[in-house]
Amino acid sequence: MTIDELTPTTGEWLRGVGSMSDVVISSRIRLARNLADRPFLATASATERTEIYRCLADAITSTSAGSDALLVDIEQTDTLDREVLVERHLVSRQHANGEGSRGVTISPDETRALMINEEDHLRIQALRSGLELEALWEEVSGVDDTLAKRLAFAFDPQFGYLTACPTNVGTGIRVSVMLHLPALKLTKEIERVARAARDMHLAVRGMHGEGTDALGDLYQLSNQTTLGKTEEEIIGMFSETIVPKIVEYERTARDSLAQHSPYQLDDKIWRAYGILVNARRIGSEETQALLSPIRMAIHMERFTSMSVAALNELLLHTQPAHLQKLHGKTLEGEQRDIVRAEYLRSRLAPSP
């Protein structure tokens, strides 16, 4: 398996299946771990950093944690391929653009990505579409156990797993759920989500967008507290309390739009489709914004000429790095917009 082979497929987080997948795009759990008796990355020398990388890469690829995984040495990978990994949510932007010896191991189905030398020595990450947190926890905890048999992780009886930044200390767990909330945005009720999250000390932020606006109506919900609660308690807040509540808000808002303003709703959907299928040049952000009402419409059964899987493929493949990889060469901004429009027309336009 190589990055070139991954590119034409859709990543795991866009499979469009799983629990509550009409609203929950994907869920992710990440565990931060550091090797005991090795300096954290802020003070590690280049040599020590390389040693940490080799030690972890070796432990992962020689055990069930990643014996079938693709090991990507990010330092040796070109910029476009690094961007492909970011767009597929396999590595953080910080990891892609960082410096020094670092990498990631990716499982063949892309559900598991272990980042080496990001902010901590190791970040064990699992990702699935829909709300599937219990299965994800079982997976990351299992990987953690496997690796802990070979490696000693920095652990303190009081503070728990020790991390480079004290905001991750304790469980080292970060649970994130990506939600698609177009109807709450349209009905101006998105603040309800923020309030619900705030009450539970969770963070909500717009995905990909500039500043406070959420591009494509995608929002990410994640925990801020990692100490003083068990992993199961933190996960339970999402899967039992807040996510079902927000999903309910969004479904109600969708029903209300369909009932009270069906013409305006359909107008919005079909205008979005009209632009996507006719544009001669189009940016990646505009594409994502226009695909949002169509995604909602598919789930509301108001738009049947496309499947969620097909829409997700468009969403991923129109992002800058994927577009260039699939086109076979690097493109400047303006040229990229023309190629993107051509790609969309070829995929969406009814054959003449």
Binding site: P166, V169, I190, R192, T212, S261
Partner: protein
């Protein structure tokens, strides 16, 4: 020319919305009004990283306190302030006083781990963590007036303590 917020008529409009559903209209609002209208989410509470930065700044501003260094990696409190990241796991011991305050602020008042313990961790560590978790469970059971459960947890604590 910059637009003025349609709602408060004072601040500069930075959020621009063209609605087609349910009615066709254009909105030009400042961030604050956009939030009141429920069209955007603004981060109200400080992010944990902001709390961290503030506290470190405050502490490290105390002159000599900033020179405190970890005997293992040599990182000082001042360097931690600049980088926002610790130098090695021993910093948690070396800067324990400062870090306990930071951690308390960042983690809703918690100062002790109650989650997973590495399978290979020594018996003492496992016992310690188990006791912490049970004591907390006991407290919660008492708060919820679930005395039957509390009694069971108390027995478990006594059993673990006598090991």
């Amino acid at each position: 020319m910059s637009l003025v917020c349609q709602r408060c008529q004072q601040a500069k409009a930075t959020v621009h919305i063209t609605d087609t559903v349910p009615d066709k209209r254009e909105l030009h609002l400042c961030e604050e009004c956009a939030e009141k209208e429920g069209v955007i989410i603004k981060q109200h509470h400080q992010s944990t990283n902001e709390i961290l930065q503030q506290l470190i700044k405050h502490k490290a501003g105390l002159g000599a306190a900033g020179d405190l260094a970890c005997p293992n990696c040599g990182m000082t409190v001042r360097e931690f302030q600049l980088k926002g990241q610790l130098g090695c796991s021993h910093d948690y011991e070396a800067f324990k006083e400062l870090l306990t305050q930071l951690i308390e602020r960042a983690h809703e008042g918690a100062t002790h781990h109650v989650g997973k313990v590495p399978a290979t961790a020594g018996e003492t560590v496992r016992k310690h963590a188990g006791l912490l978790r049970l004591r907390r469970e006991l407290q919660e059971a008492i708060e919820q007036e679930n005395y039957e459960h509390a009694a069971r947890v108390r027995d478990q604590i006594q059993a673990l303590e006598s090991v």
